[in-house]
Subunit: 357 residues, 4 copies
Amino acid sequence: MAGNSFGELFRFTSWGESHGPAIGCVVDGVPPRLALTEADIQPFLDKRRPGQSRFTTQRREPDEVEILSGTFEGLTTGTPVSLLIRNTDQRSKDYGEIKDKFRPGHADFTYQAKYGIRDYRGGGRSSARETAVRVAAGAVARKVLGETVTIRGALVEMGGIGVDRSRWDWDETGRNDFFCPDAETAARWAEYLDGLRKSGDSCGAVIEVVAEGVPVGLGDPLYDKLDADLAKAMMGINAVKAVEIGDGFAAARLTGSQNADEMRMREGKPAFLGNRAGGILGGIANGEPVVVRFAVKPTSSILTPRLSVTRDGADTEVVTKGRHDPCVGIRAVPVGEAMMAVVLADHLLRHRGQCGG
Amino acid sequence: MAGNSFGELFRFTSWGESHGPAIGCVVDGVPPRLALTEADIQPFLDKRRPGQSRFTTQRREPDEVEILSGTFEGLTTGTPVSLLIRNTDQRSKDYGEIKDKFRPGHADFTYQAKYGIRDYRGGGRSSARETAVRVAAGAVARKVLGETVTIRGALVEMGGIGVDRSRWDWDETGRNDFFCPDAETAARWAEYLDGLRKSGDSCGAVIEVVAEGVPVGLGDPLYDKLDADLAKAMMGINAVKAVEIGDGFAAARLTGSQNADEMRMREGKPAFLGNRAGGILGGIANGEPVVVRFAVKPTSSILTPRLSVTRDGADTEVVTKGRHDPCVGIRAVPVGEAMMAVVLADHLLRHRGQCGG
Amino acid sequence: MAGNSFGELFRFTSWGESHGPAIGCVVDGVPPRLALTEADIQPFLDKRRPGQSRFTTQRREPDEVEILSGTFEGLTTGTPVSLLIRNTDQRSKDYGEIKDKFRPGHADFTYQAKYGIRDYRGGGRSSARETAVRVAAGAVARKVLGETVTIRGALVEMGGIGVDRSRWDWDETGRNDFFCPDAETAARWAEYLDGLRKSGDSCGAVIEVVAEGVPVGLGDPLYDKLDADLAKAMMGINAVKAVEIGDGFAAARLTGSQNADEMRMREGKPAFLGNRAGGILGGIANGEPVVVRFAVKPTSSILTPRLSVTRDGADTEVVTKGRHDPCVGIRAVPVGEAMMAVVLADHLLRHRGQCGG
Amino acid sequence: MAGNSFGELFRFTSWGESHGPAIGCVVDGVPPRLALTEADIQPFLDKRRPGQSRFTTQRREPDEVEILSGTFEGLTTGTPVSLLIRNTDQRSKDYGEIKDKFRPGHADFTYQAKYGIRDYRGGGRSSARETAVRVAAGAVARKVLGETVTIRGALVEMGGIGVDRSRWDWDETGRNDFFCPDAETAARWAEYLDGLRKSGDSCGAVIEVVAEGVPVGLGDPLYDKLDADLAKAMMGINAVKAVEIGDGFAAARLTGSQNADEMRMREGKPAFLGNRAGGILGGIANGEPVVVRFAVKPTSSILTPRLSVTRDGADTEVVTKGRHDPCVGIRAVPVGEAMMAVVLADHLLRHRGQCGG
């Protein structure tokens, strides 16, 4: 209710501030007898971990996850899985100046207004550091989904420069610093981002996450549509300002005869001849790849001085020092993948509950 | 859990099929002692009602709402408000052909796959008719918000033709058939849509909803961010494929120095010099207008024959006869307004619960 | 959240006041393809209906249920089942005096204090009339459970007079006016209650509900234990002040060697040699009959004048005229059965969701 | 949903097994700006801690709580409070024999049946050790309630020997090993329990918890009645088999004229002349002390051999070695107090949300 849990049957509850002793979550509703150890989770955290290239924050956290409960002899037991990640590189001295000034674009002002108090060290609870927890929960969700569901994400636009879809190669996303599916675009981004970093500025990005093998029938009608839950999941990621499914905003510029994906029997099963719908009709998965895209605004922490006000109500200027990602969108890729996994795992259990099978 | 409820503290549960005897909802959590009669709800239903111009479906429903519980002598009592709207113009004969064929773009196939059964008369539960219920619940939500919060929506793009924002006039939205804030664009749309209607085709649209006077502090962090809940609310509306807050996708093409709204003291209070954030920072309202846009795909019911399959697994073609909106986006405007009201009312009560005040 | 919904996966939301036009509920999460018509629900409502003997209130309501949604051609579709029961015999004139006086033992004072307003006609929302809705929802829950689960209730104590368990006969519960499993005790109760009615007084009762055939494994650990949910369900029934499972309070007077039900293999399956646990261990069903008992306080509406205060804060006396049950416990039997069904149906779906099968 | 969370607006989610590295919980929905440090929680854990007398298990755990998040400079921030208690005295070798045998009265059989797997070391998740987490959450709940609400518990019956209420002295509960409000009864219990311990047997108990200063109006009608939530909270405590409010089962043996608490104005405010209702009418607090009692069955772990079956389906006998409480009811007193605090804190926030004030 206070905003720190996600999911219904597969549900995780997150806790922790960027500069406290640790962050973590409790994952409840995990079905029993799934193989699960830290080794199933760590690779996804490593993918998100900062400090791996010059294009992400130089904050260095090993982000080692510990499973504190819910498994026995390497298998889940159906009881809550408690995950803990210690904070090790906090350097809270870096953040002294923002104690009394609200950083434009950050949650400083709204947290202060809502709660009348805030942990000003590095964003506290609103820090992107919390997304490590989502990635960990997403790794557990992948175990629930099993091997027949494949979830992959890619950065598809940065600073207004989009990928060339004709060169799309999922394997390439693992070979460059941007999760870019197209090596040439990755090279352009590197150049662009180097320039931006030098000027102390930042840029936005668009991420695309695709899930293949999603069983037909996942999702609930009306208010818990699969796409509605995906929209909530993605919009809840730090700095995200927009979400679209399938053709998204472009669908609004099509006619009905262009837009609706036609159907034909293929190998004895109904199949779609296109996927403008992004794998979802009426809120329910139709068997085609589930496709979601979301926009990440440029990092608000920049070296350019910006007009602001103090907590005491005086005009001021603020420059956000410290170590920051010039494009937080990059590290949002594994976070988006994780939230896709969480939403699908939750709906898998919900579907099984109501409809059996 | 099965997808028919929305909200937590202010929560409505919807029921009813397009061709059953009635549709309705139960609104729970309404604070006591608010003035509420049918006359507070009916105008919003009238705004959404079909058959008011040649640009919407000719199905004629008076859509008269009855309050069955929860008020006493014109005031809410804190108990559930049950709202009922009878279906009067059902003509289920129109829908005979779709019993066995899946209409492309519709939920026919996925409902059948999920439930193994479907009410094929006019879309049943997945019909846009259900949105009347959301509008009714939204009217109750407006009472919770009170008069200091103003919620208004407009159609801002149809068939790829966008409004001219320099001519934006909220009053104009009440004067044309499209909730268009710009009379010239409305005239262009009328011409465009007349052509489309004649060819039996349909088109998509983009809706913008703006809430002014939203108290600073509404919203919850992380997973129940105000924007995340808005994204879920809007994506849950029939045919919606994309949602954005403030600058949305455009923010991904800005730099950090362009994007972050700067602050200055104004009349003794912190104020923002821009509103690219759409009134929300870190998931919490910052006092600026809350701005959300969503894309509606073109109506899937069109007269052009489309390839499809039958329930028994044979290739076929399908033409959707009957009375349909050439652009469902038009009537989505009051629905979007309603869902904005519901999300804000829910967060108002939640904020009051956790933080007092 | 506001207290009008029960259950998680199988969830119903109730609405309506005793003197409004109707009462009803929305049952969400009903699995698809279950046979369901009004005829499946009506017999349970008839069992609870007042005016069937001289021992219950003479208010006469046909309590005819209408299914407004969620079924198609006699089968559930997986969409919400909306149930409506019209109020027909309201005689609100009977209740004029209690407008300004708080009736001791009733919810008048607390509703007024909580909401600052109350529908004083016949108890409004707090009237036992609302329990008809629970009975209707329970009938739907029975369809979810199927025929292998048998749920039966009996009155086992009235005015301090308990049944003789050696004469227990379930069939007898359908033959007397008290749902009493023992004809001799029923005769004693009739005599006792006739005396009480003449003096304008009332009495309390104890109800026992037993579910047989409950699948092993239903229930969740810790906070949503099957017995915890049953306790909540039964304590939520009007006038209930106590709940126990299996031996209940008597278990507190046993030693460990007396109390724990021993086990032996029986026909190749683990079985229990006793059932002091009432069919639940660690919150999870163990395959034995699930046994719950609850105590109903004496009807607070009595003809004896009682000291009270007015809404305006003056001392007064109050006599509750009108038509009332001398022992509300009698009609609580079908309500207790219904809530047992609801709790079990909910846990059946939850178990299926998390653990499959 | 999987049973490890309690509460709605004030909500905690528990995790951990008795023989894992730690147990803990996340408390979400804590209002901001409450003073909270470990020192506010530790005294309640100390009160529950085992090994403090010869009448409780000799397992020795310091039960030191760590706050990992949600506070800043000694004040809550409105973000989740993560609490962790390390397990230090696990001796899992003691529990080897129960790997393959189901202990009568324990959850071994049902966990195995539900999940197909169980952590057999000391009861795993079903161990009473988990109740330390509830006590910790309860300490946070007390901060939410503030100093005007007083919550106290006492053991009122053990092995069938009840306290003498004429000698009730709350202070005495802190002076003996049983939380007994009556020194003479405490002495009798000591003698009784010594005898029981020597024979390797165990006994049950009844606990009473009283909350004074509860604001009028807390609680929700119908399904989330304050007493219904208390019933769920108490029945969810390990080994509890019965719950009653106010006069409870005794109310079923009264007449209406005896039972209903009359009212009179006292110091300008409505007051009740008795409290048979236990402070709750229609599910809502009436300002009188909230009184709940619950029965704890005798500890199932006893030295007497009992008939059982093995996991492989063979008849066997089982003796539960290890260190166990001869009367788990003793340490249930602080747990019952804690759950009272949690229920009241949750309803305080819920009431504030819906009704303001």
